[in-house]
Every structure is written in structure tokens, then in C-alpha cells.
Amino acid sequence: MFANRTVNILIPIISVLLGLLSGAVIMLVFGYNPLKGYAALWTGAFGDAYFLGETLRQVTPYILSGLAVAFALRTGLLNIGVEGQVFVGWVASVWVGVAFELPMIIHLPLAVLAAALAGAFWGFIPGILKAKLGVHEVIVTIMMNYIALYLSNEIVRNVITDGKDRTDSIAPTASLASEWLAGMTYFSRLHWGLLIALFMALVMWFLLNKTTQGFELRSVGFNQHASNYAGMSVSKNIVLAMVISGAFAGLAGAMEGLGTFGYMSVKSGFTNIGFDGIAVALLGANTALGVVLAAFLFGTLKIGALNMPTVAGVPTELVEIVIALIIIFVASSYMIRWIILRFKKEGK
């Protein structure tokens, strides 16, 4: 048991190191200085209070989108639709933020709740289709992403506004932004959403590990037939997993809508928050704590990487390659696990 656990912790760490290492090799091959590159990455993410604030700001939606993917995966479902659920959550939160005039104590929770509900609904559709008709959730969720993208563009353009490219800014009573946090970090866009995200990680851990319902969800993830035989309703658990996963994703959208931007604009493509969430969940081994740590890593990479072209002269494209390499090594963790186990056997 102990050795198994060590392996689980070692795999993501080795993946990241291998990724950084091959990134360094590639930078070297193309004639850039990897030490300087990574130093730029580091200062770009933690160099001073502003960048620290921006990194934490980027981490916030990653935690939630990572939780969304991880939660569904624990029940054996691959929710590729987190991206779309982020979109509907974003639109819903901004809509509530713009449309109502309420005291903060009602307005803010209402906007956050609207986002969670919208995301949950967007997760419910593939969930019910999978549970009742056996339609594969991957296909439905991918398609739902496009529906969400174009639907939210339409809503921004013609429902919330009158043919404009972006909505008005949300009322201050619905905003997660904090002057105190911004002032402390030289006007970074760090907002209170980080607390919500961390709290949700706690919720996921508690739900999965400390409740009967969580046991059922995990059980369905391990073996549907056995769970069925044990008297659990597989279809109910599938729908529930997708709904909760969607709610997490919707909250990630609220972080962008109520925290970072304070508005929604017409998007020409995906934000990648949801897609990056898949990598975050994989790297975090689908556990709450792992997801939080992985989200920190990804947030750091994303924000720090912006600094590499200007300070170290490493082109943006190479930075993208380095990030992609880390993801590849994370995704191929099976290979690393196999190698480690091989080593272990020989050692015996």
C-alpha cells in the first residue's frame, strides 16, 4: 500500500520534471538559454506582487475546471464539456450581475449560484442521455461545447445587449473583485473567487470520501456492474456526477465573469479553461488536493510563460511547446508507472 502511494505521488512529479527537462533540451537545440528561460518564467509568475496576484487569478478557474473533470472521472465519465459549461456559467453569472439591482449579500450569491446551476444544467443533458440512452458522454459534451459557445455569443449580442460585442460591466454588488486584494498586488485582478475555489476542493474531497453518496459515485466509477449488483442505481449516479461536475465548471465561468473580467464579450473561440482542466485533473490524479496543486502549476506556467518572450527572448511558440510537453508526459503517466513498477520488480 505504501509503495503504491509513493508511485502515485512520484508519477506527476516525474512527469513535470521530464516536461521541463525536455523543454530545456528544446530551448538548447534552438539556441536559447534554458536557465534564463526558466528564470524568466519564474519571475514572470512570482517576480513581484503583481505577477503573484495574476498567477493566483489564473489558478482560480483552473482549480474549478480541474475539479469538474476530476469529479466526473471518479465516476468513470470523461467530461470533455467543461469548456462549454464554463461558458454557460460565465454568461449566467454576468447576466444576473447586469440585470438585477440587489444588496450584495443577495446579489453575489445569486450570481454565483446562477453560474453553478447553468453549468449543472449543461452537464445534466449529457448525463441523462448517457444514463437513459447510453449515448457516449464524450461525443455529446464535445458538441455541447459548440452549442454553448455560439449560444453565449448570441445571448451577449442580442439578449443582454443591443447588438454590442460585450456586455456592460456587472454591478459592483455582484463583483468578486476586491480593491484590497488589487491594491496589495499593484492592480492585479486577483479576486475573492480563489477562496470559493479552495472551498469547492474541500467540498469535493468531503463529498467523495466522507459520504455514502460519494462512496456510490466512486463505486460506479470502479465497476458499474458490481455497483448495480450491490443495489446502487447506476443511472442516477451517472446523472448526479455530471450535474456536480457541470456545477464546478459553471463556477469556473463565474470566476471569469464576476472576478477577472466583470463582463462577457463575444468570443471567436474557446477560452481553453475547460480543456486545460482535463490536464489539471490528470496531473492531479483526480484528487481534490492534487487538482489544487496541479492548478497552481498550470497557472504558474500560463502567466510565467508570457514573460519568456520579452525577457529571455524565447519565442511564444517554444513556450507553448514546453507546456505541451509537460502535458504529454502527464498524459503518458501510464508509461512512467510501468517503468517504475519494472524497476521495482527487478529490485526485488
Binding site: 509513493t6 521530464l18 530545456a24 538548447l28 534564463k36 460585450r166 492592480f187 508570457l306 520579452t310 525577457v311
Partner: protein, 377 residues
Amino acid sequence: MFKNRRFLLVFSLLLVIGLVLGACGASDDGGDSAEGSGGDSENNTENSSENGNNEDFSVAMVTDVGGVDDKSFNQSAWEGLQAFGEENGMSKGEGFDYAQSESDADYTTNLNRLVRQDYNLIFGIGYLLQPAIEEVAAQYPDTNFAIVDSGAEGDNVASILFKEHQGSFLAGVAAAKKTQSNKVGFVGGVDGALINKFEAGFEAGVKSVNADITVDVQYAEAFDAPDDGKLIASDMYSKGIDVIYHASGATGNGVFAQAKDLKKNNPDEDVWVIGVDRDQHEEGAIGEDNVTLTSMVKRVDIAVQDVTDQAMNGEFPAGETIEYGLNDDAISLARTNEEALSDDIITAIEDWKEKIINGDVEVPSTREELETYVNSL
């Protein structure tokens, strides 16, 4: 714990490799800086002070999601900065640089970073950056900002706009001289103040040459719908229109596609497209022929270079809106298609250009102004 020795071995091996590679990198760096190509903006910024000395001046730009190789205004703006750097003996990373945005969440981060790296002047390229520029400019009143293609508020912000109606007027002159059916067309992107400027200028140019020529105006209601563009173009060409001017971004690719299809079926058919923003000569090439008559070229690079020069000399137009037009050569007509542009047409274009620059002709920029203009002919 015994079992973990293997892992520790692997682990430490990895660390060692990392250190060795790192060491290689460090020595590589020595060679780099000896050549002087290793950009180290930090040294640069340490030297910079606020006395406005030329040597300390530095400038940077933030692209929108298009990136510096978008073959459009981002690229053009970057070429402007490069030209500026060359004139003043600077190199990328030492005096001028750019930051690329991967998503619209990056705009403020990139602007902030460049402020912190002590750049004196920071450009935002494209109207998408307007909210970000206004926000950051308000936070850092000691840094100068400029935005291309949009008006932004702020005492330390310069807004760069273009007189597209002047260039469109000349495009209209070229179209009127070229048409044989006395019917020309205009395809717009989205019906709004910006594209109406193109429409009004174009129609005024056509009517100035020959008031009997009809101008068919249609809007695709999108800048990214080549299929709609193709449909509109097909409709126009079948009605006997032989020259179409498009101001519709990627939608215009459909106009080019339709013209090229017609030309392919019948090489003798007279169909022409007038491109927009940059020289779209390549877009119109079909075998030996080319359907691009000319293009209304918007020189973002000239504008960027000009504003940068002003800022370096301590004359930054803070809080102002600068409009670039024909007299700065920031707006012009492309002459790459020498075969199609006869001497006759070129003379006409030059004539009207003179008149516009002299102020003899006031080119209309809205539909109302166009009406008054046409009635006065």
C-alpha cells in the same frame, strides 16, 4: 523505506541531468551576450530614467490574439516598430519589443508587464484592447500609451485612427475608370459607423468620375463569413457588376473566390476585386491572371513609427486622437497589378489624390455627408 531507493536513484539522476544541462545553458549564454544578440531588457530598464533622453527611450506593443504574423495590422504595426528600431540602432529586446496575447485575458497582464519593465511608450494594437488600455493607463499615469483603430480615453493615451474614406474614394475612382458596364459593387462587413466610412468614400469616388455609374451596396453582417461573401459576389457579378470593392475582412475572401471562379471558367471575363487594409494582390492570383485591380492599403506601420518618433522627441500627442490619411502616405492605393491599372487610371487617381490633399475635395465619411456631396456634383 528500502524499496524507495530505486526511485531516489531515478530522481537524483533527473536532477543531475537538469544541473548539467543548466550548466551547458550558462556557457551558451556567455557566447550569446558576446555577440550582443541576447536580449536583456532588464539591463536596459535599469539604465532608463525619466529625463526623456533618446538613448533611454524604449517602446513596446501588445498584439491582440492575431499575433505578430497575422499578415494584417498586428504584423504591420510590428514592422513599424522594427523600422523605428533600425533607424535608431536598437534591436529587439533592447529598445523595442512586443508581447503576444494568447487570449483576451492576457491583454492587461501584458500591458502591466511592459509598464513594469519601464517601457516609455506602449501600443495596444486593435480596438479589442481598448478597455484594457483605458484601465492600465489610468493606473499608470507616468507611462504613455497608444491604441490603433480605436478611440480611448485618458490623459496619457493617444488614439490612432485612419481616414479610410479618403483611400476608399480613390478606390472608387479606380473602379469607375475600370468598369465597362457602368455598374460597380460594394461589399461591407458589418453595417456600422466604421464600414460606412468606406462605403461613403467609395461611392463618392465613383460618382465624382461618372455620376451615371450605379453602386450596389450590400452588407454580409460578418467579418468572418467567406461563404456569405461569395454568395453576394456571385449575385453582383451575375447582375453585370464588374468591379467589387470589399471592406469586410475575411468575408472578402469569398468575393475573391467567386471572382477567381468566374475568371477560371472564362479567362476573358472582366471581373475585378478591390482589396482592403493591405495589398491583396496574392489573393487575386489565378494562373496567369489576377483579379485584384488594386487595394486600399492602410499603413499601420507608418502611423506606429510616426507616433513613436514623436514620443522619443518628447512630443507625444497625449490625450489626442490622430487621424492618418493620404498626406502622410498612411493611406494609399496599391499598384502591384500594373497590367490592369492603365496609365489613364493612374493619372486619374493622382489627380484626385492631389485634390484631396489640397483640400479641394472634402471626402464624405457618412451616408448623410455622401448625399450632400453627390447632390453638389
